[in-house]
Symmetry: C2
């Protein structure tokens, strides 16, 4: 058991959906699945096939006759619903529910999330067995999340709740930090010299402001060390070489800049 909320499907009708649920769970680190009175016999070949690499979740899933039995060892239960219900259950967003579950699981409590039937979700009696309701901010005009999608969203928020910062990703390109200023100034120097010898900063009176503007542009881009290396290679190429000319043309090849070649 890897920890994390138990996913409970109440009277799921289609085995393929159960397989999709298992796949959604596996993406985001959940593994414990319980089924209450599934319509088709279980374990089920179609569920296993649809689950693909997540078939271990299907094979480990427990089947119960009633919801009450399925959650008997659980401390805190969330019920997912799409439409508003009368009653006394607090309503949470998926983010709030995930954060609450993370705290409870970390302190040793068992949590579970209930998902209802494909066609009409959970009934009021089933919701009354839960502690709180979870809902997603769907557009009411087009609300059509299926069970596997609802499980996906909850599993995703569960994974995020366990990251140090919500915005952590599986990988982060560390080379994207802005370079040290010394590196940036090296680019300025090289580029400004290459431009200067080409008469770019003319008339003389405008040179200061033109340099300032150029440096602003290169600074705001926040180039990283590797990016500046690349840009300096570009500048070198432009600076030290001439475009390839048709055979026989007379322009000198400035492969190496010499005192004679520069202005």
């Amino acid at each position: 058991m890897t920890g994390g909320p138990v996913i409970v499907l109440v009277e799921p009708q289609l085995p393929e959906n159960i397989g999709m649920v298992a796949r959604a769970m596996a993406n985001f680190g959940l593994s414990e699945l319980r089924l209450v009175n599934p319509r088709e016999e279980f374990p089920n070949e179609k569920a296993i096939a649809t689950a693909s690499k997540a078939d271990h979740i299907i094979n480990g899933a427990r089947v119960f006759d009633s919801l009450r039995e399925a959650i008997s060892d659980i401390n805190f239960v969330f019920a997912t619903t799409a439409r508003e219900r009368d009653g006394f259950k607090p309503v949470r967003s998926a983010v709030e529910a995930a954060d609450a579950m993370r705290i409870k699981e970390n302190s040793g409590q068992h949590t579970a999330i209930l998902f209802g039937r494909e066609r009409w979700g959970l009934n009021n009696e089933e919701i009354s067995l839960a502690d709180e309701i979870v809902t997603f901010p769907v557009n009411p005009a087009f609300a059509s999340l299926n069970i596997a999608q609802a499980v996906l969203l909850m599993s995703y928020e569960w994974m995020k709740s366990g990251l140090e910062r919500e915005t952590d990703t599986a990988f982060r390109n560390k080379e994207m930090e802005p370079a040290h200023k010394a590196t940036l100034y090296g680019l300025f120097e090289q580029l400004e010299e290459a431009l200067d010898v080409r008469g770019y900063f003319r008339p003389k009176e405008r040179k200061e402001i033109m340099v300032e503007n150029l440096r602003s542009v290169l600074t705001r881009a926040a180039f990283s060390e590797p990016e500046i290396r690349l840009l300096r290679g570009v500048v070198s190429s432009l600076d030290h070489f001439s475009p390839k000319l048709p055979r026989g043309a007379g322009a000198p090849d400035h492969r190496k800049r010499t005192k004679e070649n520069s202005n």
Copy 2:
């Protein structure tokens, strides 16, 4: 056009997936879909059927021969990838990307999110046309998000980015706020009196601590006004009525408590 990022599918193979993408978008308020070189002719009956109520998105989708053309009017492009790539693209979580898109869209910029082929996603050239990479915090051992699921997660984060507080839900049960203290004290009073006349707070010396403990329990539960109304009805029932007795038994029926009946 409702605003929000354009969803771009690059060389989608299965029309059913396009339909599922449209449904995912509609759930969370997105409506502009673009297809680059779809494998099957488009518009497509299977896509429309799978899209269900979101078929307006299919019918409004634009088809392009190349990715470059598909994003020519876009200011900022995110590319979704599952695995790490070499290169200079910043990597964002879905939350960061959604927040960034919300700011840009609010200021009039057009944004887009690229999703690749079912089997192998986007190629490096396509990613190089984007500004930044988005990725989801999947468990690398079981990473298996399909296109429609990736669109669902991005659309969900887009919707959340536009809510005033990230934890807003479509509906919130306002009756769940704790009641005013006066209401709570009314419950204390009624309950304590009903218990007192039944000899609950005995021996006399323990009454103070027993009352304190009872009030702590009822306070920590943070009952709301309707909940307290309900509980007071429960107390009334217990206080004013006797259990139904077999016919002929002699116990008085305390339907109305009178001075004669009370201790």
